[in-house]
Structure formats: structure tokens, C-alpha cells
């Protein structure tokens, strides 16, 4: 239990300087944002540093922020990594942002075998193109699908629509 959020933050800032931004601790978990070409270096540093030891990839997913473009932040799609140091029992989360037109991000499959399907799922739902992924294809949706359904521009079907006449399902 020696490792704390502060130590992690200090070590990260010492290594990457001001490239990492928006450090915060919502509900006790350290979170920050990183530039997207840094994601692999960051993961590797967190993995290999003898003190940090973040060797367990808990979760990898994405979030779509369509407003980021209009506000001039750049990058509508945030890829979120949850890492866990099992030895010191500390979790951290970081995000990298990619533009929606060209969401290219380096894959983490070389470091974590578990990233394979999680990245495929993220590609499947958000269209994030993981560069270097061994088998980047759809996983949960049908192969013929021609859009990425978790993006915010695809709303759920309007529950009040009346133009459907489906005798089988009764609406």
C-alpha cells in the first residue's frame, strides 16, 4: 500500500512533463489525459517502471464526446484505459483523444494480451483504428454493419414512431 496517487502523479510528470494534462481524482481514482501518440509509451512506462507496476489492464473502452470538436479541443473520441497495480492495489485511469474522422491510436496488444478483444470491441462500437492490432475486425456486431453504433449521432429508435407496421411483433 506504499504507492499513492501523488507518487504516481509525480513520477508521471517527471517522465512526461506537461504533456499529461487534467490530473484529477474523482472518487479517489487518479485520472488524467494524454496525447494520443503517447499512449503506448505511457502504458509501457507504467508497466515496466519497477515502482509503478501497472501490469493489469482492467478495462479498455471509448467514449464519444461530439462537442469536443466545436469547443476546439480536438478529438471527439476518448479511449479510456483502466490500469491496476495489483501489488500495491492502486487503480488509475487515463484517456487519450482522437479525432472522429481519423481515430488512429496505437494498439496495446503487444503489452496486454487482454487488449485484443477489448480493442476489437472498441473498434466495433466507435470505429477506433488501433494501429498494429493483429486482427482488427468487428466482434459483437455483424460484419456487414457499415457504421459504428455507439457514436452519439446514432440515436436509439424513437419509441413513439408509428410508420412501422410489423404484424409479427405487434407494432
Amino acid at each position: 500500500m506504499s504507492l499513492t496517487n501523488e507518487t504516481v502523479k509525480e513520477k508521471l510528470i517527471a517522465k512526461f512533463g506537461d504533456q499529461l494534462t487534467r490530473f484529477e481524482e474523482p472518487y479517489g481514482m487518479l485520472g488524467f489525459e494524454a496525447p494520443r501518440d503517447l499512449n503506448l509509451k505511457l502504458l509501457q512506462f507504467l508497466y515496466e517502471d519497477p515502482e509503478l507496476n501497472f501490469q493489469f489492464l482492467t478495462d479498455l473502452t471509448a467514449v464519444h464526446y461530439p462537442k469536443n470538436q466545436t469547443e476546439g479541443k480536438g478529438g471527439e473520441i476518448a479511449v479510456v484505459y483502466h490500469l491496476h497495480n495489483l501489488r500495491d492495489n492502486l487503480r488509475i485511469r487515463f484517456k487519450v483523444f482522437a479525432p472522429e474522422e481519423k481515430p488512429d491510436i496505437f494498439t496495446a496488444t503487444q503489452l496486454f494480451a487482454s487488449a485484443n478483444w477489448m480493442e476489437r470491441e472498441t473498434y466495433d462500437f466507435f470505429g477506433v483504428n488501433f494501429i498494429g492490432h493483429p486482427n482488427l475486425k468487428r466482434i459483437l456486431n455483424v460484419d456487414e454493419m457499415d457504421y459504428f453504433p455507439m457514436l452519439k449521432q446514432y440515436p436509439l429508435e424513437d419509441q413513439t414512431r408509428i410508420d412501422k407496421d410489423d404484424a409479427m411483433f405487434g407494432r
Binding site: L57, T58, D59, T61, H82, L86, R91, P149
Partner: protein
């Protein structure tokens, strides 16, 4: 054999090169009786040895994460039921814990202990199914049929608590929808008194059974390092020798008040996974006994507490709705999903039946989650399947699949 000599067979169009090939492709699933759930394995076989395996998942994908973006918090509970449907109360409680953490609702101790009882019962029923199905796949049907009546008893307890059995939709944000009835406690007592003997018999049937041991020892092994790299959690990781348990590492729902051990294995093969699950059932019984004792210690009005005081999220009693204005307003707002959720970003893990079930919830201050992601343990560790079965026999492929405790509902979300 370069071509099919029989002219009558000319109309059969085989893929090019399929006659010359030395290996056989076998589609195991998606509706094969030996795959417990709807997922497919395309096995490349050399005789009976597996050369390679490719998994296909997603047959029952129901877009839970997308659906959740249009639902108020209390309606998402029913989605979580349908993840790991062998232990849905754990998913329900995990979701309530996530919401409570985000909303800052503090649950009373009695609620925590009642939740622990339910979660551990769910864990027992989950492990019971998994382990007895491992038995079925190695040719022992008796255990499966025998323990099924105790899963039935667990389901009867669920019925007493929430009214349903499989997809429970149990509990509410802040507690339970009603207090546990006496019948629920009676059934729990019956379970606690009868089940240990049954579990002992179940263990006697398998643990030192020569046939079972020969079938499972060395089948689908994984070492700790690979298991961690593959994102294993839960009993499968513990069978490989890593003592990681969310209940201990990130305690929730007052697990820290209770005494229990984390059983671990060594080789990470089917046999160790089986033993770890059996041991966990003993530990779950221990936890339930302690939690039940603590529940019984509450006296008087304290023994009536079954939910937190969270009027904005917990439905008021019906009699108040008819007679009091605030209650009517809250009732309306909750049912119509018109309560604003405070903005925040949260990750809440719970120890599910087959690993770390995580809820990653982002709220932007609207009435529904901005984004909800489920960390589904078996989706993540199923990718190790091709590595686990490489070079194994076809019959091992089946038993590895069942001993991993793969639940299609959870995998496909």
C-alpha cells in the same frame, strides 16, 4: 487425392484445397449442446488434436451499453440481470453500488449485510452450476442433478426477496424494495443447515475421483503471468495462483467486516479451477453465516431498516404516495426518470461469479448516463481459449470451456 473421382459428386462444390488438406475444420457451436451458451468455436483439428481455435462471439448481443444511455438509473438494473444470468443478484447489487457511489448515498449496515447474503448465495448458485457442468462434461451427470435442488432453494430465497428467480431485478438504489420476509430467513436457515452436507457429498463424488482427475488435471492450464496478461479475474485467476479478490482488495458493501479466506490454486488447469470454486462455496457459506448473525443482531426498529434514506432515488411507500405531496412528487419523478444525476465519472468493481465485474459510468448531469460500460470478465478472458486448448484433445476443449465459466449473456452484453 487431388480430385474427386466420382463423377456423380461433381455437383458438390467444395472450397478449393479442402480435399488435399490434412486437417479438419469443426464448427463447435453456436448451438452445439456442449457449448453452454450461444458462442462458436471454429476448431482446426488434426485427428483429435486441436491445431488452432477461433472464437466467434456476439450472437446474443443486445446493445446494453447503448440502451443504457436512454434509461434512468433504476431501469438499467434489468439490463444488468441479463449479463451473467447465473448470478444476476451480484450484477444488480454491483449496479446499485455504482449508483450509490455516484449519488453519495450511504447505505445502512443492515442493508449491506443483507446484500452480502444475497450476493454470496448468488455466488454459490453460480459456482454450483459451473462445477456441476464440468462434471457433466466429464461424464458425471449425478452431481449436476443432485445439487440442482439446492440451486432451486436459492432461487426460492430470491423469490421470497424480490419475486423472481433468474433475472431478478433485485434491490433498489439505496437498499431493497421490501424487507426480507420471515419465510426468506427460514429458507436461508434451511439452506445453511442442509447445504454443507450436500457440498461435502458433491466434493466426495469428484475431488479424488480417478476418472475426473485424469480428465481435468492438466487440461487447459495457464500460469499466473499469462493469466494476468490475459486479464483473468475471479476463480480462474485464483486457480492460477494469484490471490486477487475484489471483495478484499476494493471492499464494498461492508465485506471488510467479515472474515473469510481466498482459496487459490497452483496450475490454473480445470482441476484447480474446480477446486477453487468448491472452496469458494465453503467460504461463501462462512460469509453468509457471519452476515446472517450480524443481521440478527439488529433489534427493534433497526431490524426494520431495509433501505437508505434517499428520497430522490428510492420510491416512497405507496400509502405515502396517496396521502403526502412530497412522496407523490418523488414517486412521479422517479418513475418518469426525471431526476437529474450529478455529473461524475466512476468505476465500481464487484466480485462477480466469474471475475471482476466493473461498471464504468459517466454522467454529464443529465437524467440518463452519458456512457455506461460494463467490464465483463468472461468476455475478456475468453480470448485465452485458443491458447488454452492448443494441442489438446477435442474432449478437453469442451471441458475447458465449461470450467472457464463462460456465460454468453455476459460475453455479448
Amino acid at each position: 487425392m487431388s480430385e474427386i473421382n466420382n463423377p456423380k459428386a461433381k455437383h458438390i462444390k467444395l472450397p478449393e484445397g479442402s480435399v488435399e488438406r490434412q486437417t479438419t475444420t469443426l464448427n463447435l457451436g453456436p448451438t452445439h449442446p456442449a457449448t453452454h451458451g450461444v458462442f462458436q468455436n471454429i476448431l482446426e483439428l488434426d485427428g483429435e488434436r486441436i491445431v488452432s481455435a477461433e472464437q466467434t462471439v456476439g450472437y446474443i448481443h443486445r446493445a446494453f451499453e447503448k440502451l443504457a444511455e436512454r434509461r434512468p438509473l433504476y431501469q438499467i438494473t434489468t439490463l444488468t440481470d441479463r449479463l451473467n444470468y447465473c448470478s444476476s443478484p451480484i450484477n444488480n447489487m454491483g449496479w446499485h453500488l455504482t449508483c450509490e457511489k455516484l449519488l453519495g448515498v450511504k447505505t445502512p449496515k443492515r442493508v449491506d449485510y443483507l446484500r452480502i447474503i444475497i450476493m454470496e448465495l448468488a455466488r454459490i448458485s453460480d459456482h454450483l452450476i459451473c462445477n456441476s457442468v464440468v462434471g457433466v462434461d466429464s461424464g458425471a451427470y449425478t452431481g449436476f442433478l443432485y445439487v440442482m435442488q439446492y440451486r432451486e432453494l436459492i432461487y426460492e430465497i430470491y423469490e421470497e426477496v424480490c419475486g423472481s428467480r433468474l433475472t431478478t431485478n433485485m434491490g433498489r438504489i439505496g437498499g431493497f424494495e421490501r424487507n426480507f420476509t420471515n419465510a426468506a430467513f427460514e429458507k436461508l436457515e434451511r439452506f445453511l443447515s442442509e447445504y454443507p452436507a450436500v457440498l461435502k457429498e458433491f466434493e466426495n463424488l469428484f475431488n479424488r475421483n480417478r476418472i475426473f482427475m485424469e480428465r481435468t488435471i492438466g487440461a487447459g492450464p495457464i500460469n499466473a503471468e499469462r493469466a494476468l496478461n490475459y486479464g483473468f479475474t475471479g476463480p480462474n485467476l485464483r486457480a492460477a495462483g494469484v490471490d486477487y479478490d475484489v471483495r478484499v482488495h476494493t471492499p464494498y458493501s461492508s465485506y471488510e467486516d467479515l472474515e473469510f479466506d481466498i482459496p487459490i490454486g497452483r496450475t490454473g488447469d480445470c482441476y484447480d479451477r474446480f477446486l477453487v470454486r468448491n472452496q469458494e462455496m465453503w467460504q461463501s457459506l462462512r460469509i453468509i453465516e457471519q452476515a446472517y448473525k450480524k443481521v440478527q443482531e439488529f433489534k427493534g426498529s433497526e431490524a426494520e431498516i431495509y433501505h437508505a434514506d434517499a428520497p430522490a432515488y428510492y420510491l416512497p411507500p405507496k400509502s405515502d404516495v396517496y396521502t403526502k405531496m412530497e412522496a407523490l412528487i418523488w414517486h412521479f419523478k422517479i418513475i418518469m426518470g426525471e431526476t437529474e444525476i450529478p455529473p461524475g465519472e466512476i468505476y465500481q468493481p464487484v466480485e462477480g461469479g466469474n471475475g471482476e465485474l466493473g461498471f464504468y459510468l459517466i454522467s454529464d448531469g443529465g437524467r440518463t448516463p452519458y456512457r455506461l460500460h460494463f467490464r465483463r470478465p468472461c468476455f475478456i478472458y475468453y480470448q485465452a481459449y485458443s491458447e488454452l486448448t492448443k494441442g489438446a484433445m477435442l474432449s478437453d476443449a469442451i471441458i475447458v470451456m465449461s470450467s472457464l465459466n463462460l456465460i454468453a449473456g455476459e460475453m455479448d452484453a
